[in-house]
């Protein structure tokens, strides 16, 4: 039994550094994010080489999130071609990064740290690092601000922020500004809180059920239940991040009834150029 006053599991908020490449410190959650990207790149290479009109099973698997997200985005708004790629990319990236954090060996295989009981894992779930989630939230922020500025002009964007009765602008402008900026915080903190708390939950459940010998039969299926819970939450959080990105871009475009003639969908590379100009 662990002594009183000792911690049950060892968790750190900040990702630990594994090695340095020049001035860049490579942390274990960076390794996790790169691993997720490698999985996606392999899927892309497979799809580009082996795509056929009648899909086999692997191709159907790769097409599943694309068709799901395209169905949702196209069913919500008429002008979706400019940003559906971003929404699909965010969904698939966060899904793979979250699910990679549940594989055996992630968070458990690592180097021994200085203090007793401390382990520095080689790979850590990417979503458990605020840098990863903040980076994705920044991408979303830049994209929807650039859509608003591209469609309405910078003054038009500020006018949108000022609100409709113009005399209320001194009150509404700070409120709208803060609510737009807080989308950064909410997007990043939602994903980070879910994944980080999920890691702590899994570690705690495993530590509790293996603390004493008579509890060991429980250790066979209670952590499995929480693993399934984390699978579900990882997928839901990926979906929510992508759908919120879509919702913010739709709000930034600001389709109102009567302006449907603007809905000649721009090509995808225009959206990429706008992001590149605004970034």
């Amino acid at each position: 039994m662990p002594e009183a006053g000792s911690k049950l599991i060892h968790v750190v908020l900040k990702a630990e550094k594994l090695f340095s490449i020049g001035p860049l410190e490579v942390t274990n959650s960076m390794v996790g994010a790169v691993l997720a990207s490698v999985v996606l790149l392999l899927a892309m290479v497979y799809f580009m080489r082996m795509a056929s009109i009648v899909p086999n099973r692997m191709q159907s698997l790769i097409e599943l999130p694309v068709e799901l997200m395209t169905g949702i985005v196209a069913g919500t708004t008429s002008r979706w071609r400019g940003y559906v790629v971003l929404v699909i990319g965010l969904f698939v990236m966060i899904l793979v990064a979250n699910w990679l954090g549940l594989l055996p060996g992630v968070g458990t295989i690592g180097l021994r740290g200085e203090q007793p009981g401390e382990l520095i894992p080689f790979v850590r779930a990417a979503g458990a690092d605020v840098n990863f989630t903040l980076g994705l939230a920044l991408v979303t922020f830049v994209v929807f601000v650039s859509w608003a500025i591209r469609l309405h002009g910078p003054l038009g964007y500020l006018r949108e922020l000022a609100g409709e009765p113009r005399y209320m602008a001194p009150l509404m402008f700070p409120i709208h500004l803060i609510s737009e900026l807080s989308r950064l915080v909410s997007l990043s903190m939602r994903l980070f809180g879910n994944i980080f708390a999920g890691e702590i939950l899994l570690g705690t459940m495993l530590a509790l059920t293996t603390a004493a010998a008579f509890l060991l039969p429980l250790a066979l299926f209670i952590p499995t239940i929480f693993l399934g819970l984390e699978l579900l939450f990882g997928a839901v959080q990926a979906l929510v991040f992508a759908l919120l990105t879509m919702a913010y871009i739709i709000l930034a475009i600001g389709e109102r009834p009567g302006t449907e003639h603007e809905a000649n969908a721009p090509a995808g590379n225009e959206g990429a150029q706008a992001s590149a100009h605004a970034a």
């Binding site: 968790v11 750190v12 908020l13 949702i72 069913g75 919500t76 909410s186 903190m189 939602r190 980070f192 809180g193 879910n194 980080f196 708390a197 839901v236 959080q237 979906l239 929510v240 759908l243 919120l244 919702a247």
Partner: protein, 72 residues
């Protein structure tokens, strides 16, 4: 020790999202009960509303985690 107490107090804020999620889910169940074909239409806005409400509880959790791990 003080930071642990503060972390526990911070989690009192999770009462609000708990009630909100329950109310939202009950309304969704009512709507599906009245009109079972609306389940597909309801799904996406429901998940969106769930995540936005749950995020408030996650903010409380973030503050509690920061208090436990990053405050001496």
């Amino acid at each position: 020790m003080d930071s642990n107490l503060a972390a526990g107090l911070a989690m009192i804020g999770a009462i609000g999202p708990g009630i909100g999620l329950g109310i939202g889910f009950s309304k969704a169940m009512e709507a599906i009960g009245r009109n079972p074909e609306a389940a597909g239409t309801l799904f996406v806005p429901y998940i969106l509303g769930l995540a936005l409400t749950e995020a408030i509880g996650i903010y409380c959790l973030i503050i509690a985690i920061i208090l436990i791990f990053a405050v001496a």
